[in-house]
Amino acid sequence: MKSLIPRLIRRLFGGIIMILAVASFTFFLIHLIPGNPALSKLTSLEMSGVQPRQAELEVSAIYGFLPHQPLYIQYLQYIWQLLHLNLGKSIMYAGISVSHLLLLALPWTVFTVTAGIIVSFVVGILAGVLIAVYRDRWFGNGITLFSTFLHGIPQLIMALLLAYLLTTIWPIFPYGSPYKASMTPGFTLPFIGSLIFHAILPVAAYAISSYGGWALTMKSSVVSVLGDDFILASELRGLKPRIRIGYIARNAILPLFTTLTLSIGFMFGGSVFIEQIFDYRGLGYMLITATTNLDYPLMAGAFLIITTAVIVANILADFLYTAIDPRIRVQ
């Protein structure tokens, strides 16, 4: 247990540094955008006859800093606002604060991505075990081939295919919104049912596009654990099959947690396509609409929140791993 707390602190500290680095990146990004949007906004406000003081307040509210001040002051202003969870104001949703918009968007993404990760992880691991067990037979080879094939299909293609084939060609699932348009949102059974029904395809798109990876990784993990000395030892000590399977499963799943961190980033990255295609107003959707509509504060905010979500998820995955593996937990 001794090494657990320092590790926790180290990881959290690293995460904060990382978020700060991303924030700095978005700050400088906005300055590098051709035409300096913040400054031109200020100029155009002043040209249209707004009081200089009033114009400054307005620009500062949108971007979180004042564009005609020295760069380091702007930077400090920006970070200071961030620390107060103020990400500025949206341009396209005029007057609405970015943090409010993103707070509304966050659950959509977190819900679908988490469901996608869990489904693909569970199904992938089961398939991986099957492949490993039947690896010299046609059944195993069949699943391997299938998994390799799915592994090769990117999220964009998977989402488009599912949407097009299962809503237009064979209209089995609903398409175009996260719940039935005629319903009023609320904690009612039909509404939640509709939410889940509409979520099947996007979650499937997430899950199928990363299922293959899990299956193949799990297969090689199981095969490598099967070759470990202690598995042979457990067989020669006559342990019951049930106990041996437990030994194999725990040892084989463990290394997958390190892959999980990479997968989380991949999933969140895929949200830009899947939310676009299935019309989910999540973080990815916000990022795309903000970018194409030149709403830079919203874009920067969405980017920052997506990255933060990934960093937080990584820290959680790391802890899960640490909690399960005694080699790290107990020194």
Binding site: D229, F230, L236, R237, G238, I243, Y247, I324, P326, V330
Partner: protein, 341 residues
Amino acid sequence: MGSVAVEPAQASALDRDVACRVRGLTVTYKVDNRELSALRDVDLDIRQGQITAVIGESGSGKSTLALALMNAVSKPGRIAAGKVTYRDLGEVTAMDSERLRRARGRSLSMVFQASQNSLNPLTRVGAQLLDLARSHDMRDPRAVLREAAALAERMSLDADRVLTSYQHQLSGGMRQRVGIIFGLVLKPQVLLLDEPTTALDVLSQSSVLEIVRSIQRERQLTTVLITHDMGVVAELADRVVVLYAGRVVEEAPTTELIRHPRHPYTRALIQAIPRLTGDPSLARPLEGQPPSLAAIPTTGCVFRGRCPHRMEVCETSTPGISQVSDTDHRYACHWEGAAND
């Protein structure tokens, strides 16, 4: 001392003394569509209550033999012919998988190489002992833990600490002692030690050997010791079987073998051991390379490629078993000089 050729059947004299009998054991591995024999036509008697050592270098088939004694040869290998029969268990080579499982770990137990990690890295030692006890339907699994703790104390280990440890918390010497605890805790009838001290430090090696020796004496435990190290054999074994390229080339009581080796391989092997006494320049290196599975000749003597006494007959005919008269000493060699020490 003269020698006479004998039939293998005659060679095993007293059934009462034999705990395990191996007859005609041939194990093959399938490599690139070729069946290569790792063991060929091995006859062996493991004496009740004694330590029988099997010595051989890499490629001799000694690890395969260890697995075959538990009928645990796995793909791409298989037992192509022969029987392994235990006095108390019957023929393991004919058992179904459930009977085999019950025998393994309970009646026949194995201590693995020190360089191998025979423990599950994610579970405490004590929990794994309980798994072992439950797998063999012990009525009181706690009693198994108590027995393990007693064994640990005896090996000058801190029992409480060891039982609550994970594998990575134990040093190499401690792990190997824990391995021995796993091997002994269910009071097996036959104990197999596969290179029990290889990769251990000198001092750990000697204390592990000491532990094995004292427990074996106390329980009169039938023990098979598989090793490449003549020193370990000399320290522990009552009898030695010399394996070369999958064949038994010599078999004798330990002191007899070390004092009067007959087979040219055994002679060369003993001569190639650097020692602490005597003139060091008398030690002679062994020529040639150890056998590789793909290159073992199928006819004639397997050692002829490295043998200083090679004759024409060695190329064509496999040497039969000769017995040194009135002794328990057998060897397989065409060379007349082998009969004299």
